[in-house]
């Protein structure tokens, strides 16, 4: 505060207090002085290309955005020569950009060129617009580039290089006429562009534009190219001077408001929880527009969130309930479907008891829907047999955190990960599974000196960028984590005061680490001892350490233990309770966190209160006027086993393609065949639905309201962008129809009422209300009754009786390895552009044309050994089953390790190979422990990855846009100097 007192800056004669080191343009803006600025955007920082924010500082003309404030600085923004310099800069922009606003699809009230010119009051152009010698690039799937309209502000380059950090775009300042180029000047479609779409988001005009907008946004923009040209000429004739032009185009923009609906929603493609506005015209999606206010992502998106919504209008959507009759499904009316469901559920319950039924919620559905599913199961049917698909991925991480720190969620926010000095990712292909979060790490590492250590089998994008990259042998992470913990203790480098004050069970933990010597760890993991010691020392040295982990840790037989070991290490080094630190199990689906939070778990009520706790159970029994069994029910895995054992004959599954995503799908689908009643609720006739007795057509996130909870424990509202497709209904409405038919007195008119009920019963969400979540507002649980939330957990202590965390002792035994017969290890995971099993993203044409096929990644060594090349066809055989696939030879994998994307389906589905091994503590399938042998069917063929896939591109890394190269051009004079020269 003291320092700030001294930073007094005078702007146009008035004094202002600035933050030390503050950017001058920010100060000018907060002072409410009007200075034009086109390349400057708060989310991107200064780029210094457009020169329009010229001001006079202590007598010299300079760019405000390129100036840091200093005490005593005197700034003038309105002097005649300053205004002349600004006008010169604006004129230069209009030499590069033709104003035909009324017939431009970008004329939606938010065109920054239009608005800047109008605000500046520019009436006439001094020099005419000049066409550029380049054609439009329309080669890509999702956006196009129009060099003629491009003002070379470089925002797209900035966002690509330093925000998304994909490093595809640059501006070639050396050419006679500079332009934005992709890689080493290839068409968009042939480049390394991952289609995150952020260039089109930040473009201040119509140069980089989403293809969905073209010819759709305006009333007059839907024209043939030649015609459009004539109309542009005409508008220019009629609209002499910019005043009338702006008046006409502003009116047209206002008319568009009536026609284009902008609805805030939350993305469903991973746990990061990006929020943005969806622009729709009837059922057509024009574009996705992120908002600087979006709490998790700001202006960032990935290809799926920005462009992956075609599936919503897929012709394959179900629009009538289906009942199995003989060998076919018959479409029926809702009345018939609901009474069928109720009748059959009642029959089975009466004949075989409530525990003969099982319920599986969806991690893609809303919190409110998860709440209703467990209420249906517990109140109406009377069983705790309710679970959700986090069992397939995230339960072990939750378990590890419950054991040690008491809350099963990320300890802080994505901002904390970005602020850490050292980030460790373990078993996480962050760049493809959580792209927007990965970009935050990539940015911090590239620009702010953050260190990144990656532990993974595959040399993926994050590994390629890491400061250190280690490839421990599959399933041995617990060993090296424990070994470095032991080393830290042995050297006396632990955070003694933190442990003293905040952690119990230290001695037992110290004892448990005895077997984990460096030698043992080195032998099991394959990482040399010296390197492990170095990791230990770096962790101790770093002030703030965050550890992110994902399925590479959890989907093992010791997934829970390994997660626990991570948390132990963080406790040992005092990396909880402060900014930039903590444990981050990266949740895979949009609502993996929330689905478990809101009670779709066999042992927990909403807010992780145990069914065995009498006080809690009585609370729900009283509120719901029913009796609830005390003992935990069956989880997903146990339900499938129970079907085979004859103890479960009815199942109700919402939005989950269990028949593809569960491990050992042959075993799972055999179970489905044995069910007496199988109810499936989904958008499509999925592989799982094919086994159903009745299929109820549900709606996707864009067609309903509700809330999702992201990986940061952040609860966010989604609004209805589209009406439900006629015939389909939101899951919560369907559940309510079923419950009422079964005699339940449910009466919810809106999801907010469901949330109100959940908040009144679960203390973890006591203060959650829809009003507090309005628009882009969000809450991170726990939320106290007065609405106070906890972005950074454990500030007041850990949620155990004495407020202290616990060390949890562990042991280890190697249980999985390849064998002589099954000599190859199969790894699997996500691809950037496909979600999960792909039943949504394969329906997005622009994605399917670039990534149409599944593949098997094979290392160059193994390819040589087996005599196969790119495009070979192979059969993989495990103890559980077999799958076919096409080979791509890549250094992303090494030695005898293979990788199959989980979006592989049909005969390539990876779960044809997985078996019934599970994490010993949570029954999460050990998807990552598959040994196979490989038979070669064909030695070579067409590559399964087309040449226009981004994996085949060649990025061109640099910092920002290299504006210095612009300044060095012979034809460049700084507008401030130009004005001085011209007098």
């Amino acid at each position: 505060m003291l320092e700030r007192d001294h930073t007094v800056v005078t702007i146009n004669g008035r004094e202002y207090l600035a933050d030390p080191g503050q950017n001058l343009i920010d100060l000018i803006n907060s002072a409410g002085e009007n200075v034009p600025q086109i390349c400057y955007n708060e989310s991107l920082g200064p780029i210094q290309t457009c020169d329009t924010c010229v001001v006079q500082v202590n007598g010299n003309m300079q760019r405000a955005c390129g100036t840091k404030v200093e005490a005593g600085m005197k700034v003038q923004t309105q002097l005649p020569q300053v205004q002349m310099a600004q006008k010169e800069a604006l004129d230069r922009i209009l030499e590069n950009h033709e104003l035909y606003c009324t017939v431009c699809d970008y004329n939606n009230g938010d065109c920054e060129i239009h608005n800047t010119m109008a605000e500046f009051g520019l009436e006439h152009q001094s020099r005419p617009f000049q066409e550029k010698p380049y054609n439009r690039d329309e080669s890509g799937s999702f956006y196009r580039y129009d060099p003629d309209q491009c003002i070379l502000c470089g925002r797209c380059v900035e966002v690509c290089q330093d925000v998304q950090v994909n490093e595809t775009l640059t501006i070639d300042w050396e050419r006679k006429q500079p332009r934005v180029i992709w890689d080493n000047d290839v068409p968009i479609d042939q480049s390394s562009c991952v289609n995150c779409g952020q260039c089109s988001t930040v473009c201040p005009c119509n140069a980089m534009m989403e293809k969905g907008m073209e010819g759709e946004a305006g009333f007059l923009t839907d024209q043939e190219p030649g015609m459009l040209k004539s109309m542009i000429e005409l508008t220019k004739k009629v609209e002499t001077g910019y005043g009338p032009l702006f008046a006409v185009s502003d009116s047209e923009a206002a008319m568009r408001e009536e026609r284009i609906k902008k609805t805030k929603t939350v993305c469903t493609y991973c746990g990061v929880g990006c929020s943005f506005d969806v622009w729709t015209k009837d059922r057509q999606i024009l574009k996705v527009e992120p908002n600087a206010e979006s709490p998790a992502n700001g202006i960032a998106t990935c290809v799926k969130g920005k462009f992956g919504w075609d599936y919503v209008n897929s012709e394959k959507r179900l629009t009538k309930p289906l009942i199995r009759r003989g060998e076919t499904f018959e479409e029926v009316e809702w009345d018939e479907a609901i009474s069928y469901v109720a009748k059959r559920l009642t029959e089975i319950k009466e004949k075989r008891g409530a525990d003969d039924l099982g319920f599986i919620s969806s991690s893609k559905a809303t919190n409110e829907e998860s709440y209703l599913m467990q209420k249906l199961s517990r109140q109406i049917i009377g069983t705790n047999n309710v679970d959700n698909c986090s069992r397939y991925c995230q339960s072990p991480a939750t378990k590890g955190l419950f054991r040690t720190v008491g809350h099963g969620g990320d300890s802080g926010t994505i901002d904390d990960i970005a602020k850490a000095n050292l980030v460790l990712t373990i078993g996480s292909n962050t760049d493809e599974s959580h792209p927007v979060l990965a970009s935050r790490i990539k940015r911090s590492q590239k620009l702010f000196g953050q260190k990144l250590f990656v532990f993974d089998l595959r040399k993926h994008e994050m590994a390629r960028r890491a400061d250190r990259f280690y490839q421990p042998k599959s399933g041995t992470d617990l060993v090296w984590i424990s070994a470095i913990s032991k080393y830290i203790l042995d050297q006396g480098l632990e955070d003694k005061s933190f442990i003293e004050k905040w952690v119990n069970d230290f001695e037992a933990y110290r004892e448990s680490l005895q077997p984990f010597t460096m030698e043992y760890a080195s032998e099991l993991t394959g990482i040399p001892k010296e390197e492990l010691i170095e990791v230990a020392e770096e962790i101790v040295k770093a002030d703030k350490v965050s550890i992110c982990w994902a399925m590479g840790v959890t989907q093992h037989m010791r997934g829970s233990d390994t997660s626990t070991a991570i948390s132990n290490l963080l406790l040992l080094t005092g990396n909880y309770r402060k900014e930039g630190c903590g444990a981050y199990p990266l949740r895979g689906h949009n609502n993996v966190q929330g689905c478990s939070d809101f009670g779709s778990m066999p042992n927990f009520f909403p807010g992780y209160e145990e069914t065995t706790n009498d006080e809690v159970r009585e609370r729900y029994e009283k509120a719901w006027n029913c009796t609830i069994p005390k003992e935990p029910g069956k989880d997903n895995h146990q339900m499938i086993e129970a079907i085979h054992a004859g103890n479960l004959s009815a199942m109700y599954v919402i939005g989950e393609d269990t028949g593809i995503v569960d491990a050992n799908i042959n075993y799972v689908t055999e179970a489905f065949e044995k069910l007496d009643l199988f109810i499936v609720q989904d958008l499509f006739l999925t592989k799982t639905a094919e086994y159903a007795d009745i299929v109820l057509p549900a709606v996707p996130s864009l067609e309903k309201e509700g809330t999702f909870t992201n990986t940061e424990r952040r609860i966010q509202r989604l609004y209805k962008a589209l009406d439900p497709l006629p015939g389909a209904k939101p899951d919560w409405e369907i559940l309510q129809l079923v419950a009422r038919e079964l005699g339940g007195d449910w009466d919810y008119d809106h999801p907010s009422e469901i949330m109100a009920e959940a908040a009144s019963l679960a203390p973890l969400f006591a203060g959650v209300t829809y009003e507090r979540l309005e628009g882009y507002n969000s809450l991170q649980w726990p939320v106290a009754e007065d609405g106070t939330d906890e972005p950074l957990l454990f500030q007041e202590g850990f949620p155990f009786e004495d407020g202290k965390a616990k060390f949890f002792p562990l042991e280890y035994e190697l249980q999985y390895d390849t064998t002589e017969k099954y000599d190859l290890h199969v790894n699997n995971g996500r691809l950037l552009e496909h979600f999960h099993e792909g039943n949504m993203t394969y329906k997005v044409e622009g994605i399917a044309r670039k990534t149409p096929n599944p593949f098997v990644e094979v290392s160059p060594e193994l390819a040589d050994e087996r005599g196969i090349r790119e495009g070979a066809e192979v059969k993989l055989i495990s103890e559980a089953g077999e799958a076919n696939g096409w080979v791509t030879v890549t250094e992303r994998v090494r030695g005898k390790e293979l990788f199959i994307p989980m979006s592989a389906n049909g005969k390539s589905a990876v779960n044809l190979l997985t078996d019934n091994r599970v994490d010993k503590d949570t029954n999460t399938p050990a998807y990552k422990e598959i040994a196979v042998r490989m038979e070669v069917l064909k030695e070579e063929g067409k590559s399964p990855i087309p040449s226009n896939n981004h994996r085949k591109g060649n990025p061109v890394p640099q910092y920002s846009v290299n504006v210095e190269n612009k300044w060095e051009r012979d034809d460049y004079v700084f507008p401030g100097d130009q004005v001085n020269k011209d007098g």
């Binding site: 024209q223 043939e224 015609m227 004539s230 109309m231 000429e233 005409l234 004739k237 009629v238 609209e239 002499t240 001077g241 009338p244 009538k320 289906l322 199995r324 009759r325 060998e327 076919t328 499904f329 018959e330 479409e331 029926v332 009316e333 689908t669 489905f672 065949e673 044995k674 069910l675 199988f678 006739l685 592989k687 094919e690 086994y691 159903a692 007795d693």
Partner: protein, 155 residues
């Protein structure tokens, strides 16, 4: 034993039933928006009577083509002056003192009314003119017009 199946037998809604449903839907919409629809009918009626409806229909049928012709035609050189004039006219409107124009218009209207009420065949002699100047209404008009002529001639 439920095997995996993919056949879907689509619900065939008899045409009459679908017809009935659609009709019901429309009926409900009509009842809910009675006022607006009645107003709409009035509007349609008047558009029809003036022939505007026909033109609008024809235009909407060939919007793109019509637009093309229009733009092509209007882009020709001899319209250039007119197009440039359009905004000028708009600016001119901005300069006109509407309050005074309105007052003058009221007078003008009364004059026209009066004019229409007399026989156009009737002749006026010089003497009649001199006599008429004594009529206070005519005198006020002539004075006003002389003032106007004076103002118009001002440099």
């Amino acid at each position: 034993m439920a095997k995996s199946i993919t056949n879907i037998k689509r619900m065939e809604i008899p045409r009459e039933k679908q017809h009935e449903r659609d009709l019901q839907e429309v009926k409900e919409a009509v009842t809910e928006n009675k006022e607006a629809i009645l107003q709409g009918i009035k509007l349609l009626k008047s558009l029809n009577e003036t022939g505007t409806l026909d033109t609008a229909y024809a235009f909407s049928q060939s919007k793109h083509k019509a637009m093309k012709y229009l733009v092509e035609e209007i882009s020709k050189d001899h319209y250039a002056q007119m197009l440039e004039n359009l905004p000028e006219i708009v600016f001119m409107l901005g300069d006109v003192d509407m309050k005074s124009v309105r007052e003058a218009t009221v007078r003008l209207n009364e004059g026209i009314q009066e004019m229409n009420s007399t026989d156009p065949e009737q002749k006026t002699s010089i003497l009649d003119l001199a006599k008429a100047l004594k009529d206070p209404e005519i005198n006020r008009s002539v004075t006003l017009m002389m003032q106007f002529l004076k103002g118009m001639g001002r440099q």
